[in-house]
Amino acid sequence: MKRSMVLATGAVLLLATACTSDVPPGGAAPTAAPGTSAPPAATQFFDQAEHDRQLALRDEAAEGPADQPWVQMLEPEMVDTAQYATQGPHNVCFSNASVDNPWRQVGWTTMQAEVDLHRDEIANFTALDAGASDDKQISDIQQLVGGDCDALIVSPNTTATLTPAVEAACGQLPVIVFDRGVDTDCPVTFIHPVGGYAFGATAAEFLADQVGQGGKVLALRVLPGVDVLENRWAAAERIFAARGVDVVGVEFTENDTATAKSVVSDYLQREGQINGIWMDDGTAAVAALEAFEDAGQPLPAISGEDQQQFLEKWQAEGLTAQAPTYPTFQWRTAVIAALQILRGEQVPSEWILPQPTITSENLDQYLQPGLPPLHYALCGCQQMPDFPARWGA
């Protein structure tokens, strides 16, 4: 009796443990390069041509108004959308992968604010949240396509699995994909910032400049196997090798601040001194810095992200820091693109957004006091109605 109960409860526990070990894909910032489904070969995550293209794009001047980066575009190839023009007001639909991290939260809030700017043109904005489940998102897309939508915006949960559902939708109505891509060019436009290689390379170049040849850098990563995060590291790894930087470790933190702090503490003990911290995702940047403070060590050069608490610490302590970004303002662009298509205006088939870098020189311009600690500064939302209250200030 007792024994069978013990075994049964053990079994249930195991089931439940298995659930928690499902690591959410994407971390704070997801995919860029379309067409990368992932067999586990290390070289799978390095595409030389795409790498070179992204690094070159960093220096390109974007077309469009400089004060509105969310409508700027790099090397656009415009496509005609006259066939989609209809009389408004429109029903715009959105299939969202999830809102399970602060990056997506800020993006989602910003997107809703953008919709509110166009209440004359958008009669209904229907959004379904897939809760990070591919299955749910496939059925969400089917449900939206079967409903009364004039245009469909998709932020895919994963690349390969969502492709057939997006392809099916393309036959019915104009589709706008942003953030992570899909393995098809049937959407009218695919909106994304420059990409992971550019992100990783910008951070690595900064750190290589700061620590010099032989300087010690610790790389903190979220988790293995996510293509954009792999791209970030692939680009950085090459730069560190070329510049003779001593990479003392590459560790995964799953964006857990306690893990990040522990890992950094361990390395400080082992190495005695670390000159730079490279991160593929800046969520745990402040925790990493605190490990130095608690160990009584000088703060290192660090590459983080545009997260509020990191920017605040940067300003307060005068850090040697840089923040490449994966801007949340692309959530605005998706709505703008949908309306342009429904008006029959041209849009780029691949809408590449600029990917600004925050440096000590322009920090003041990006840092807005009073926002929540996990806000992302590149929301492009500073001039929107109800800012900053709507974003949690």
């Binding site: 013990v6 053990g10 857990d256 503490s265 608490q309 600690p373 949690g392």
Partner: protein, 330 residues
Amino acid sequence: MRTLRDRVGAAAPVFGVLLLLLVAIAVVNPNFLEPASLLAYLKRAAPLAILAVGQYFVIVSGEFDLSVGSLVTVQVVVAARLIDGDESATVPVIVLLIGLGLLVGLVNGLITTRLHVPSFVTTLGMLLVLSGAVFLWTGGAPRGSLSESFREPGRQGIDIPGFGQVPWSALILIAVAAGAAVLMRSAWGHTLVATGDNDRAAALAGVPVERVRTTAFVLSALAATVAAILLGGFAGVSAQVGEGLEFSAITAVVLGGVVLGGGRGSVLAALAGALVLEALFTLLNLLGVSGALESTVQGVIIIAAVAYAARRAGRRRRPPAVPEPSPQPA
């Protein structure tokens, strides 16, 4: 009642494993044996060890508490929002957190004992309620920030000249361990174990089974509150701070030789189980196998430990020649 041999027998393996792991870490990283490193390890392990102590009370009484991880998240997120960097709010907020912990534990306990909902379901429901509530309240991104004095216990320590800093969390852990050991030696501790061993017999012997179990849930929720204060202090605001902690705590307790289903095991062994788990993670990290493998390791440990415990239980409870009636209500 348990014999001394029984007690040591159940607990000995975990202390052996802990020693083995600490030696293995020291071999990989000789610095580990320095006092500062050992204290840093204790500081890191303290929240999980305290959670394991809380979970022990519940498990030894024959129940589960799956809500502690999300309770930790709720406490940290609530603290950040209410304190919002204001030092003077620290103490009132800590009092509030303790109140919240008491409330959650009480609700878990009362639903389980009075409404006869299995604790697995009660606390799983509580997990979902709490994580949903915190998500709703924050919209997924925590607001506000913790004050320096709130972070003091999890982050700082006492400086002892010539020795270095002894972290508050290590001292708090020792205090909790001592308190729990004393409690388990008290009359209440014996009734708790008796309840888990056979609640009908305990009830017939005059043990207020429902009250004892409810108290165990309250103690677990209070342990989660202390862990939340330490974790929030250690690493700051995060919406993921408590993720998976309930399973780590249960794994730790099981590792300590505490039998799922109740009635057997020592609280200090459960605490040692948490230290083993943390040492194991440290070792894996040092060896360069980290991340996803941690959950695999945790899964294997649960299987192995439960199988081991079931074998022991099987041996001990081999039925006599004449089958006895089931000792437990079905």
